[in-house]
Structures are given as C-alpha cells and as structure tokens.
Symmetry: D2
Subunit: 133 residues, 4 copies
C-alpha cells in the first residue's frame, strides 16, 4: 500500500528564531496529516467523539534529520506500520523535495471518555490487512 | 485598584524567525494572565465549566508597540476597565522593565454551552465596584 | 478587486476544551492567508528577509462573531483596506459556508532589522491602486 | 544529582477538545524546563546564539502515560542521562502530585549556524561528571 501523502507550507508561526521549524511543531504537522488520512479511510473523528471515543497518542519516537525552513513546501507521508489489539502504529515522515527531514513512529490507541481502551474502528484493521505483504 | 501583575519568560516556542515574539502569542500570554487574575478573585474556571459556563472573548483591540525578544522577562498587567451587563472589559499590557510592549483591550462574555450569554460571576461585578473611582 | 480567498481545515491543535477554536489561533489562520496573498502578488517574504526587511503587525482589531469548531472547513478572505505611507491595512474575515465567524482589521508595516519603518514593496502600493474605486 | 524541577500550570491554550493537554504541547513544556535548567547551570542561550551556536534536538522518545488536564499544576523534572561527544541526553518527566504523566528522553546537540556539530559548552560536560555515580 502506498503511503498517504499530504502537502503543507511552513509559515511564520512554525519557525523559531533560528529560522527553522520548532521541534514540537512537527508533531502538529503529522497530526494534521493523520487526521486527513483517517478521514480518507472513512473515519469521521467528530462523529467518533460524539459517540464518546477518541484516538490518543501513547508513544512517539521522532528523529530530527534536517531542519525545515520558513516558506518550505513539505509533504507528510503516513503509512500504517502495525496493528496490535487496540493499538496501531503509524510511520510518518516529513519530506522536502523527496529528502527526509523528520521521521516518527507514532503509537495510537482508541479510548473512551473514561480513558479506557476501546476496539479500533474497522477501517483501521481493514487497512492493516491491505498493507500486509 | 492596582492592576494584577503576572510575570512570564519568553521561550523558543514564542518567537519567530525575526527573534521576536510571534504576534498571536501575545494573546496566549494575556490569556494566561487573565486566568491567574480570575483565579485570584476566587473564580474556579474548571468548576464553571463543569456547571456549563465559560468565558469567551468577543473582541480584542491590540497594539504592538515594541517587540519582546527571546529570553525576555516580561510582566502582564491586567486591570478591569468596565463591566456592562453580561460583558466585561480588561486592559492588558505586556511590559519589559516597565516599558510597554503590547497593549490590548479585551472584551469578554460569559456563555453557556449553548453559546448564549449568562450572568457574570459575582466576583467580576464585585471587582467593578472596587475599581470604580 | 475581489478579496483573496484561502481555505483551511480546523485540526485538533486549533481547538480548546470547549471544542472551539482558541482565540489566538485565528491570528495564526489569518497570518497564513496573508502569507499566501502576499506570495500571489509576487512578494517573496523569504527574499525580503534576506534583504533585511520584514512585515510587522502594528495593530489588530478583531471581532469574534461565532465559534469555529473542530473539523470545520473554513475560508479566510483578505482584502486590502488602505495604504498610508509605510503602513497598510488588511480586512481579514474567517467564514464557514459563507457565514462570518471572525473579522479583523490588521495594520502592517514594513521594517528593517533595526526595527525602523521601510518603504512598502511596490506590489503592495500597486494593489492599492487596483482596489481603489 | 537531583533532577531539576520546574513548575507549570496548564492553560486554555494547552488543551484540546478532550480537555487534555494536546500531545505536541508536552514538548513545549519540557523545552521551557530545559531552558530553565540550562540557565541555572550558567549557560546563556541568547549569548550562545549571538556567538553563532544553538542547541538542537536530534531525537525524542516520548511516552504519554496519563493525561494532564486544564488547570493542572504540573512539575517538569529534568536530569542529565548521558553525554557522548557532541551530544547529550536528558530524561524529562512531567508529573502531577508525584504521578508521572509524560516521560521523554531527549537527545540534543550543539550546532553552528551552518548546521554542523559544535563542542558542547563546558557547563554541560561538568554536569555529566557531577551526575556520574
């Protein structure tokens, strides 16, 4: 399965005084891309929320490879890496002209409003089947 | 009545590539100071929220006088300017060594979860009495 | 002259615990739209910066009319309101399905790295001529 | 060596619509705490920057253990975990009433404006000696 691709532009709000993207903001970038990927597989997060469940990040491993700069046009690639029970793992990469600037593995769970794990939406487990070799 | 004073430090997350505080972040600064002032007059915003009401900003007039810079120690001064029915107005100033960098008049209402105006907490109207000449 | 229109989506990072866009974030939204409008009239802000000049916001008057919510699709409209010497004024509106949620008048100057005003780029003054009746 | 401790309050800007701290914002919290720890060991990051060098994060491993909520009083603990050549590693934990909510290992380098690694400030390597068993 090809990774989901999502373009974004670096604005003033994103960079720090070194002129490069502030390290926490890559997590904002990849969250936007996740939201778009999740929407495209047919999951409505606003409806999920009304039903009392929500995706929550449990772990992030992030490598900052090269700095993104003000006004850069970037692409976020998102691929499902694994599904294990109530958790799934995404590999998310931020690229500029095909060069990897940032790479993260993000572990996500589905939880209820009580904070307890819930069954993943079918659309996620279906993706796992599609992306297995 | 003397204005409420609240200190803050400028961190990496706050500045843009010009090395100065990004213009939207002053609104974050003054909101933190408002939260502290409101706490000090005895209002518990977390409890208010559980009771179904919340403060909402209706209008901001903001003047950017001089830039705050990375690592600056700032003070936010907050004073009640006026109370009119279900609205109140705060004058909020960001200073560095007594010099005004940013000045805003912020109009705030209390609303219910339905978005409709609610009566202001007594602590706000009491402040108005105290601060009148 | 028709206003510049720029679409955006509301993500998790943008909303507060009331499920509505945090008030400072509208300033991020309109700054992104300004950057795109300025790019489209042919100004390269990254190049400007290398030449030692930068746009700086001097004043914002902002009305919060109705809340934008998580997952909303919004449009930012930006129109040149006035040019006066080294300053220009933009009217920026955030809409959802044609309904105005947020409206701001933003006063901007062009300054050098020393903080002193500089002559506006020609592309801005040309816009003023185009947009006059 | 006891870890550096730094208190912070959770404000409206920090939480998402689930009423819990947005995941990227923990990176802002721990960066503020790092800045304060670095200041306390005698390093002036503003002066470093004028000399053309800056700390940059190379890798983050972050575990989200329990959610922090609006209005929570938190403490960030920061301890030097290791120094290896031009890199150092910090363990940073966010706690509420002694309970661990977030734990990260952050790998940091010192780089010049050209992006190349530079020798770490002596104050960092001295800390390493102090914190070794």
């Amino acid at each position: 399965m090809t990774p989901h691709r999502w373009p974004l532009r670096v604005y003033y709000e994103d960079v720090d005084l070194a002129g490069i993207v502030y390290y926490a903001n890559y997590l904002r970038f990849v969250e936007r891309a996740r939201s778009e990927m999740i929407r495209e597989v047919g999951i409505d997060q606003a409806a999920m929320r009304r039903d009392g469940s929500v995706f929550a990040v449990r772990r992030v491993e992030a490598d900052y490879l090269r700095p993104a700069r003000y006004d850069d046009e970037l692409v976020v690639e998102t691929a499902l890496a694994d599904v294990m029970g109530a958790r799934f793992m995404l590999d998310q990469t931020v690229l500029r002209d095909g060069e990897r600037l940032f790479a993260a593995r993000v572990q996500i769970v589905c939880i209820g409003l009580d904070g307890r794990p819930r069954r993943l939406p079918d659309a996620i487990t279906r993706m796992a089947v599609l992306s297995s070799p």
